[in-house]
Symmetry: C2
Subunit: 468 residues, 2 copies
């Protein structure tokens, strides 16, 4: 176990990572042929990003501890002090990977645009048209969209690091993703400005087939961008659960993207570009998150920090918004949405909300159990009645004293609820349960998206054109 | 003096800032008329950025101290502990200002592009042409260039904060700006790719009037982007000197830009857009730097951190490179270039280099004097001879023991050299001297640029078209 606690790679790890990077570089150099192969290049970048993140997290551990970026793991018998904010390392590697990827993403366009001769802004000359080549211009709009996504991610990383360092208050925290979303929304406004949405069939007689939401569309996008990062941050507190849920969402989104790119889908499909864009952002995300999970899974050697949660949520918001599938995205956030709704009584202080609501570690059994809020003042009759009802529905567990007054109620998070249902369990089993739940809910969401959506929309856009 | 040490604004300050912000917002709302007035909007944004930065630095002081972002001011009798890394606050406000400014910068283009009706990517319809309006397309290239500048700045801020937190080693530090430069260079490669430069007249018979530097041009741009941030970081160590030198450079660059936009210059001048671009980046920079200087000037209430130095240098690199006047830019860096060259013997360890080379505070006189390197082992004969020669030229001051061996020599920085020349002086006088030196050298540089350049180039591009 020396390699686990040391800050250097074991020989075996070093060799494996070295081989991985070598293979990926080999693949990358081969993609500069013909029209380029951006998806293969993106996969290779993910491999490199994995290796770099894995090594950096290992190497930087002592430096982070020395700089005071550390926290105690309260759910372990010895409460060890381990490095925190490692999400920052992971997100910086990710951002650099995405920046280096730009020439690969646009290789085909560079070739097409420059073969016309020097000035890339002009329509390619007549001889190309004669040779049967499509009219082609460099896709500045696509580049601007890619860059605006990057800007939003960088913004959220800067603010996330600030949050981790300065311990910002909860009510200021929730607005951090709003600032992060601004670059993306502003570039969207300046450069695309498409605010039309498809109207569901039952409403089409009243509203027409499309409706222009105008500025409301920006409010909606901002809401998505605020919700995703915060909801991932809210479903946290157990070793590995932040990263694992993000990985499940990312993999399901990749599967959804693949549906549009697979040979079964007619080509060229109008949504192809959006889903390629989404893959470019998601593949390296999977790479860096896997590396982080290796260190963050039970028993954690590092914490991820709010930086990671904001960053992961913003990656999803960026691909959902700029890829024009934000409604599909929300279908993959069912556990997070439930967790948020379930938490509202505590968030709005109808029920007292302690600073931390993570499951409680029982040092005798070594298991986690639901944490509780103590009612120093008994709840008002209305809230008491509601709690008793929830208790009967097994949506909360309350403890009453001999006079029947509520003295304790479990904290309203999905983690605690799971423990109420399933009884105390070890930390990794709880994290695994969440992974299972996220996967099942996500698959259900995608099924709804591609099958049941036909009930309210005229066609699934996988087989036809409208971006919904 | 209570307001100076407290973490809240005095009534007077609060009112002034409030009035400033009010006036700026008033100006901003008025710029949404006709074709928009981006320069006026940018000035208003600078005012708001000043007010926000000024207040945030004051408010965040205790939070930074609590988070361990602090340092001791060694050049004060009591060595007070004050907040550090305040450059991060200043740069984040700057970045947000630049992001919010995007719609103002492109207002004219949005109006022109959307008045054609919805799809902004098409050439405006015939009726506009008939009404005498110029054919107009949304300038995606300009937007991409603006966004790439922002990306580079965000990159450098993230890495700068990392540097301030983690205390990175000197030889890794110098490469931080290289990473920051990557987004800008990659977008330049993908989107513009202009690598031609004008050849000086004496060389034109051999090389032609233009030469394509190819990848060497990227090496040159990377070198500029690495040099600017590091050279500002190197000329540091006295209260206010980092910010003051940056302000002087920024103001001189603004003056240079104004030359191209003033009524004396023929309009539309081909370099107008580049210099407008430069102003959009520099005006808010002056705003946030002024606010930082208010807190950082002698006696400092906050330190700026490496973050500020990197950030400031990268702002200059971005405007110089994307505005196509990087050679002019270097003419404003004469003191920094001198400081770098003068430092090389210590940087390359020909002469021992202590961790800090800042001037030494004499607690008896309250003045700063040149700091020294002690020669525990006497220097080699060659180096001793060189040092003696430099001593005679008054470029260094050495101390010899009774046997004539060198025991001490002053550290090779421009600050120490100035103290060798002028004798011990108070910290603010030294900082002011540097401001004076920077101004004089900068004005000289601009004079060389616009008058003497005619000796080697066919024309000053202020009156003619080629971007040099």
């Amino acid at each position: 176990m020396t390699s686990d606690t040391s800050s250097s790679l074991s020989h075996r790890e070093a060799w494996r990572l070295f081989l991985l990077v070598g293979a990926c570089i080999g693949i990358l150099t081969n993609t500069f042929q013909g029209e380029g192969a951006p998806l293969i290049a993106s996969t290779a970048f993910s491999g490199i990003a994995f290796a770099v993140t894995f090594s950096m997290i290992r190497w930087l551990g002592p430096t982070f501890l020395k700089a005071g970026l550390k926290g105690r793991d309260m759910a372990k018998p010895k409460r060890p002090e381990i490095p925190e904010t490692m999400g920052a390392v992971c997100s910086i590697v990710y951002l650099l990977a995405l920046i280096f990827f730009i020439p690969f993403a646009f290789y085909k366009d560079i070739v097409a645009a420059t073969s016309g001769g020097g000035n890339r802004d002009v329509v390619v000359e007549a001889q190309h048209v004669e040779h049967g080549r499509m009219l082609h211009r460099f896709p500045h709009g696509k580049l601007a969209s890619y860059l605006s996504g990057l800007l939003s991610l960088q913004c959220i990383v800067i603010l996330g690091i600030g949050d981790d360092l300065l311990d910002i208050r909860w009510r200021h925290k929730v607005l951090i993703p709003a600032f992060g979303a601004i670059p993306m929304l502003i570039v969207y406004f300046v450069d695309f400005g498409v605010t039309h949405v498809v109207v569901p069939v039952p409403l089409q007689p009243y509203l027409g087939s499309f409706i222009d939401l105008g500025w409301l569309y920006y409010v909606y996008m901002a809401a998505v961008a605020i919700f995703c990062p915060n909801s991932i941050n809210m479903l946290a507190g157990v070793n590995g659960v932040e990263v694992a849920q993000s990985l499940v969402i990312a993999v399901l989104l990749i599967a959804n993207d693949a549906l549009y790119l697979a040979p079964v889908t007619p080509y060229p499909h109008p949504a192809t570009d959006s889903h390629l864009f989404s893959l470019y952002f998601l593949l390296p995300f999977v790479g860096v998150s896997m590396a982080l999970l290796c260190h963050n899974w039970y028993p954690s050697k590092v914490f991820v920090g709010d930086t990671y949660c904001y960053f992961a949520g913003m990656v999803f918001a960026v691909v959902g918004i700029l890829g024009h599938f934000s409604k599909t995205l929300l279908l993959l956030f069912i556990p997070q949405i439930f967790n948020f709704l379930y938490s509202t009584p505590q968030l709005f202080h109808l029920i007292p909300c302690p600073r931390h609501r993570l499951p409680k570690f029982n040092s005798v059994t070594g298991l986690l159990d639901a944490s509780v809020t103590e009612w120093t003042v008994p709840p008002s009759p209305l809230i008491a009645a509601a709690l008793k009802l929830l208790h009967r529905l097994r949506l909360v567990r309350i403890t009453r004293n001999e006079s029947g007054q509520i003295t304790e109620s479990t904290n309203l998070t999905i983690l605690n609820l799971w423990l109420v249902w399933m009884g105390p369990m070890r930390e990794d089993r709880l994290a695994l349960s969440m992974v299972g739940l996220q996967t099942v809910c996500g698959l259900l969401g995608l099924f709804v998206r591609h099958r049941l959506a036909l009930l309210v929309f005229r066609e699934d856009n996988r087989t036809f054109g409208a971006h919904v």
